[in-house]
Amino acid sequence: MGRSLLGIEDLDRVEIERILERAVAFQPHGGPGFAKVNTCTGMMVVNAFFENSTRTRSSFEIAAHRLGADTLSITAAGSSVAKGESLVDTINTLSAMRPSVIVMRHQASGAPHFLARHLSTPIVNAGDGTHEHPTQALLDARTILDRCGRLEGLRVVIIGDILHSRVARSNIFLLTKFGASVVLCGPPTLLPREMAAIAPGIELEYDMRRAVRDAHVIMMLRVQLERIHEPPMQAGEYFRFYGLRQEHVDLAHPDVIVMHPGPMNRGREISSEVADSQRSMILNQVENGVPVRMAVLERVLLW
């Protein structure tokens, strides 16, 4: 009987620290690959992805395999969902096959929370609509810790489409729990003023040059065209005012790191010059996805 992991907001510091510390044990540490530990042999991880995903799904699959668990992945296209079955029926059907955990991504905010109320199988939220993406925030925290050694007291700037970003929300909840100061920056139509009140220690800044000043971490977000029903501003304007370029990195703290949850749009929200620079942690983030998700699956299945 495991425990679901639906969002960062519900986790406390101790639990987050435990996951992040456990992830260290799975990191390659200069070796050829991730540890193979087989702590979850015989268990079954179902990845139910109702929304497209490449990196998150493969990362969860690798994580499960490294733990010795079996996996089954289904996607919305080609599944019974495409034939008109309701989400409840689909998940109940999967649940009847007795998996140990269902890892789920869905385009509706709260879909895993709604299902968790009606299901005994634990659920790991792999991204729900515009709400949370908890494993992304955990791997981002692991990446920051690897590089900066701490979260407390850091100035972290999150830039872009905050309104529609589940990555932003999970990161905001996590970073503020650890005493980082979080600066949110984006066009006013994508950064509602209410955002300042969803956690303590948040600052809103609509001017990117002011936002990045002295930043230890710059997190860029993808412009989520598929979730935006009206264009916030013209594409050219977007890059001009909210696209990350070297001139912004120069304004930040000398040791600043640049992050992006991917998939990134070069030339829309980030210049190639920055994305490919020494400051960029983008591939480190992807790499950390596996050990962090191993720790998350262990937490759900074993702890």
Partner: protein
């Protein structure tokens, strides 16, 4: 032989006639015959109401009975039974059926069906526009002739101000109120809950309070232009309450209703992603809830109405953003209103009765044969008997509605309906009474 029912020794509260005291109520031949401390009625059936409140039959001017067209969620028969169990003797049903009630044919169908199958009085509300599409006026005069008592495109607000103006001009001459579900659809588009820090936190699209406010403002100006009686359905925002108060100070015939759920629940009390908390207007933030309650206390809000909106279980068992809007409310209305308004000392029991009886009757304006909402001789023999304090727990499994979408399941209330009498007939009794 004339059928007589004598209700004895209850605390008779009739705000319209200023009566509040222990008395008997005699109903003869379906109509109120007399109210007084010393009544004798040989051969009358008697009902002992000692320790109970005897009030005019409660009136709910905003319900959805879902018939014709959506009878998997509710029917006139089941909805009327849920109404009776909530102490309501009269309901007005909104026209968003299938087909839409935009013609005398549909109005007549509902009236006839209700006459045969309903246990309470059912008065249809006709559509403002054909198909409630907001473009061409419906057959308003014919619907009124067939029994419609008001017009509304509830759920699909009339966005076109010119169309709304023409509807008001028509309604003024027919002496019926125009009821608007106030929501600027451009501002609310795609929204699932009140726009506030919680909508942003939960990643749900917001419906700003301004979506309601701008339409209330527009419509009040149109009411002034046309002289029509204008009624705001389920008012839910601070500014809307203020504007209705302002309109009335200027002498305009503008009224409004509040629902029990909009005064009992706010965004902080929502269970996240539970569609039993999803309705339009959405549950608002505490400042708005407070303003609506203050509006009830000050009189800016005229009456209570449930917006009883049944949806079948599988429609509500979905991702939050896919679920339809609305909750059932007939059976919990009195319990909720007592809890929020009376037990807190905000209003008197007398005023509460008015909010359910004389006030909604005034909003609709029933006259002559149809006069209701008071225990006056000649009025409809509709009586609601309730206990103002006894504890009971709402179990939606026992609901007489066909649907179970309520946030109040399992909630314990203090005070609720005991006997419901329609036209001198007992149509519902609390279990165990």
């Amino acid at each position: 032989m004339v059928k007589k029912l004598l209700i004895r020794n209850g605390r008779v509260i009739c705000p319209a006639s200023g009566h509040d005291g222990i008395a008997h109520v005699l109903i003869e031949d379906g109509r109120i015959a007399a109210v007084g401390p010393e009544l004798s009625a040989p051969g009358a059936e008697t009902l002992d109401a000692a320790g109970l409140v005897v009030a005019p039959g409660f009136i709910d001017i905003h319900v959805h009975l879902r018939e014709p067209g959506f009878t998997h969620a509710e029917t006139i028969a089941t909805g009327s039974r849920a109404a009776a169990a909530g102490g309501f003797t009269t309901v007005c049903c909104m026209p968003n059926t299938n087909p839409v009630n935009d013609s005398a044919t549909v109005t007549t169908y509902i009236v006839e069906k209700a006459r045969r199958e309903a246990v309470v009085n059912v008065f249809p509300i006709g559509a403002i526009t054909k198909g409630s599409e907001g473009e061409e006026l419906a057959a308003i005069g014919s619907m009124v002739a067939a029994g419609a008592v008001a017009i509304s495109d509830d759920g699909r607000p009339v966005m076109n101000a010119r169309v709304m103006r023409r509807a008001m001009e028509t309604a003024r001459v027919l002496d019926i109120p125009v009821i608007q579900h106030c929501e600027d659809l451009h501002l609310s588009a795609g929204g699932d809950m009140h726009e506030c820090v919680d909508s942003v936190r939960l990643g749900l699209r917001g419906i700003p309070a301004a979506a309601e406010d701008v339409m209330v403002a527009r419509d009040i100006l149109l009411a002034e232009l046309t002289g029509a009686r204008y009624h705001v359905a389920h008012i839910s925002t601070k500014n809307a309450v203020a504007m209705v108060g302002f309109a009335r100070k200027r002498g305009l015939p503008v009224t409004c209703e509040a629902t029990p759920h909009h005064i009992a629940l706010d965004t902080r009390l929502m269970r996240p992603y539970d569609s039993n908390y999803k309705m339009k207007p959405p549950l608002r933030s505490p400042e708005h809830v407070q303003a609506v309650i203050e509006g009830i206390v000050s009189g800016a809000v005229d009456c209570l109405a449930t917006d009883h909106a049944p949806h079948a279980g599988d429609d509500k068992m979905q991702e939050f953003e896919r679920c339809p809007f609305g909750i059932i409310g007939l059976e919990t209305a009195l319990g909720v209103a007592l809890e929020v308004l009376v037990h807190t000392g905000r209003i008197s029991l007398n005023r509460l009765v008015a909010l359910f009886t004389s006030e909604p009757a005034r909003v609709i304006g029933w006259k002559g044969e149809q006069a209701r909402g008071a225990l006056k001789p000649g009025y409809a023999g509709d009586v609601t008997i309730f206990h103002p304090e006894y504890p009971w727990t709402y179990d939606v499994k026992n609901s007489l509605s066909k649907s179970a979408n309520t946030p109040f399941n399992g909630r314990t209330f203090h005070g609720g309906p005991i006997v419901t009498i329609v036209g001198g007939e007992i149509v519902w009794k609390a279990p165990g009474f």
